[in-house]
Amino acid sequence: MGLFHCPLGAPYYDDDACIDCGLCYAKTHEERVEASRKIREYLKAHAPRTSVVSKVAVCGKGGSGKTTAVALLTLAFKEAGRRVIVIDADESNPGLGRMLGIKGEAKPLSDLFSDDGLFSERERFSMDDIPPGFVSAVDGVRFMAVGKILDPFQGCACSLAESARQVVEKLDLKEGEVLLLDMEAGVESFGRGVERHADTILIVVEPSFESIVVAGRIAQMAQGMGIGRVGAVLNKVASEAMASRTLQELEKTGLKVLGVIKYNQQLAGTAFEGTPVGSRASVEEAGIIITALTRGGSS
C-alpha cells in the first residue's frame, strides 16, 4: 500500500509530499520528537484541508437582521459564482421569500419529513430528488421553506424544527452549490441540534447588549457541536463609534467578526417594503464577508 504512518500522506519516502521529517526512520525518542516538531511546523505553515463553505446557518437574536443578511449573502454568493439554495427555516416570519423576489409560496418542507412524508425514511437526498412545488426559483436562486406556524393552537413547532434539522443533515450538495439557512431567532434551533451538520455558522449581531449575549451563547453551542467555522456579522451599524463599541464587546466573547453591514437608507427601505434587496453597497459588504469566510475565517 505504501508507507502507512506518514502523517502527510506520502506513500513513499522522497515522494513529492515527503518533507523528510525523518519520522519513518527515526530510531531514538529524540529523533521522533524532532520529526514531530518538523511535521507540526510544516502543517502550520501549510493550511490543512479546510472544508468548503457549503452549508451556512445564519443565526442571531430576533430582529438583528438575519433575513436581510441572508438576502444580501444570497446575492453575494451568486456573484462569487456559487449556485445558491436558500432555506427559510424561520417558523414565524415570512419575509425572506419576498426579499429574494420569489413569487407565490413554496410548499412547506415539513410535508416531506412528516411521518408519512416522502422523505421520512430517506437517508440522503439531493436537490434533484425534491418533488416540484417545494422549490421556487428566481434568477438562478432556489428557495425552499420549512413551514410556518400559521394558525393559533397549531401545536408546537417541533416538527418544523425537525424538518429543518433533517434537511441540513441529509441534503447532499453538488459541487458549487451553497446552502444558506435563515434560522429561527435566538438559540432554540441549537437546543434542537438543527445546525449540527452545517459547516458554517454566521451570527448576525446588531448593536445591542442582548444581541451580543445571544451571539456569545450561539458561538458556544456551535463549538459544542464541533462546527469549525463560526463568525459574526455586525448589522445595522449606524456609525463608526457604534461599530467599535460593538466590536469591543464582541471581542470579549472571543467571536471572530467577519464583516460589517452598515445601516443604509436604501437597505432599510427595502427591508420595510419586503421587496428585493436594493442596495448595491450592502451586497458588496456581504461579498467581503464571504471572502473572509472562504479564506478560513473561523473562531
Partner: protein, 367 residues
C-alpha cells in the same frame, strides 16, 4: 468468520513451514536486507531473495543513481552511466526497475528510483501486488507473517494509560452516527467522502498471514489520495467512488473488523479493515473517543458481542439484582471500535463519547 484457530498453534506451524522451505541465500541479499533490517540473517534476506532476482538485486544495491541529472523530478529512469557501470543494457535495467516498482521494492522518488527506506515501508508496499503471487510463492508471504509473531488477541494489559500510537481506531459508522458531537475525522463515511481519490486493493497484512481465520475478503485495503494514486500507478489497486467504498465497509458489518487509520485528525492514506488474526497494528492502536455501553434490560445474553470483541473487553457477568448473566464491556479496555454495537440484535448496545477532541491530535505529534 471461519473457525477460530489457536494463534500459537498457527505460529508453530508457520515456523515449521519456513524451516522446511529454507533455501540458500546469496550474499547480495544480506546486503539489501541490512539496509532496512540490519542484523537479521534469516528472514529479511530471504524476503529480498524472493523479491529480486540476481540481476535486479545488483541494480537495487547500486541505487540511487548518482549520475541522474538534477531536477529530474520523480522518475524511474536511470542515466546511461548507471547502466554502463552495471554492465547492463539500459533498456534491461529500466525493465527490471519497473517490475520492482510494481512489486513494491523500488519507488520513483525525487532522487530517481530508490529502494524502500524502512522496514515498514517495504512491508506495506511489497505485500500489495497479487500479480506476483505465484512467482513470490507462499514462502514469501509466510516469511513476512513470521516476523510479527503469534497473532493472538491483545491482552487487556497491553495498552498503558498514557499509550501513544501512530494508528487509531475509527468507529464503525452505524454505531456512532446518532451520537451528538461525532466529528468528521471519526466518521468513516465523512472520511471517505472527503477524499480526492480512493483505490481498493488487496490487503497486504492479510496476505502475509496465510492461515488467517477472520474471513474478511482479500480486497479490503482502502487506500486514499496519494497512496491511492501510487497503487493505481503500479496497477495494484482499482479506483472506486466514495459511495462504493462506503457500501464495501457496510458489507463488512458481519465481520468483526476494526477500522484503523493514522492517529491524527487529517486522515491521509488508508482506512483499514483489520482483525487481530492478520494485523499487528491493531494490538497497539489508540482508542477512539468512544466506549460501548450495555443496557442490561435489553440484553438477551446471546453472547455474540463477546465473540465479536477483538480486544477482550467484553464478557458475560452477573449484575446485582438482575437474573442470569448479561454482557459487560470494560470501559478501560474497550477501544471504541463499534463492532459489538452494530451486531447487537436486541439494540442493547450503544456508543458513548468519553474523550475530548484533544484525544485525537491535529497532527501526528505523539512524541
Amino acid at each position: 468468520m471461519t473457525k477460530q484457530a489457536d494463534p500459537f498453534e498457527v505460529y508453530a506451524k508457520l515456523k515449521a513451514r519456513i524451516e522446511e522451505n529454507k533455501f540458500p541465500i546469496e550474499h547480495i541479499y544480506f546486503e539489501l536486507a541490512n539496509k532496512i533490517f540490519p542484523g537479521d540473517k534469516e528472514i529479511m534476506p530471504r524476503i529480498m531473495a524472493r523479491l529480486a532476482n540476481a540481476e535486479q538485486a545488483k541494480i537495487v544495491a547500486a541505487l540511487p543513481d548518482p549520475d541522474l541529472p538534477a531536477g529530474s523530478g520523480k522518475t524511474l529512469e536511470v542515466s546511461d552511466a548507471f547502466a554502463a557501470k552495471l554492465g547492463m543494457d539500459k533498456a534491461v535495467v529500466t525493465k527490471h526497475i519497473r517490475e520492482l516498482f510494481k512489486k513494491g521494492l523500488v519507488f520513483p522518488t525525487r532522487k530517481g528510483p530508490n529502494m524502500a527506506r524502512t522496514f515498514l515501508q517495504l512491508h506495506d508496499a511489497a505485500l500489495g501486488n497479487p500479480a506476483y503471487n505465484e512467482s513470490l510463492g507462499r514462502i514469501y508471504y509466510d516469511l513476512w507473517g513470521f516476523i510479527e509473531g503469534p497473532m493472538n488477541k491483545p491482552a487487556p494489559k497491553d495498552l498503558r494509560s498514557d499509550h501513544t500510537s501512530e494508528v487509531r481506531v475509527v468507529p464503525r459508522w452505524p454505531s456512532v452516527k446518532d451520537v451528538p458531537g461525532v466529528q468528521a475525522f471519526e466518521d468513516a463515511r465523512a472520511i471517505l467522502k472527503s477524499r480526492d481519490l480512493i483505490a481498493l486493493m488487496r490487503c497486504g497484512c492479510k496476505a502475509s498471514h496465510t492461515d488467517r481465520w477472520c474471513g474478511i475478503p482479500d480486497e479490503s485495503c482502502i487506500t486514499l489520495d496519494r497512496t491511492a494514486q501510487y497503487n493505481l500507478d503500479r496497477k495494484t489497486g482499482r479506483k472506486i467512488s466514495a459511495d462504493e467504498a462506503i457500501s464495501i465497509i457496510e458489507k463488512y458489518d458481519r465481520f468483526p473488523t476494526v477500522h484503523l487509520t493514522v492517529n491524527q485528525r487529517e486522515v491521509t492514506q488508508l482506512l483499514c479493515n483489520c482483525h487481530y488474526c492478520c494485523c499487528l497494528a491493531i494490538k497497539f492502536a489508540q482508542k477512539s473517543r468512544f466506549v460501548c455501553e450495555v443496557d442490561t434490560k435489553k440484553c438477551k445474553g446471546c453472547k455474540v458481542c463477546v465473540e465479536r470483541c477483538q480486544f477482550q473487553a467484553t464478557s458475560m457477568k452477573k449484575y446485582d439484582g438482575i437474573e442470569g448473566e448479561k454482557a459487560f464491556s470494560d470501559p478501560e479496555i474497550c477501544r471504541g471500535c463499534g463492532s459489538c454495537v452494530i451486531t447487537c440484535k436486541s439494540g442493547a448496545r450503544t456508543m458513548k463519547l468519553v474523550r475530548p477532541l484533544e484525544h485525537v491530535p491535529e497532527a501526528l505529534s505523539i512524541y
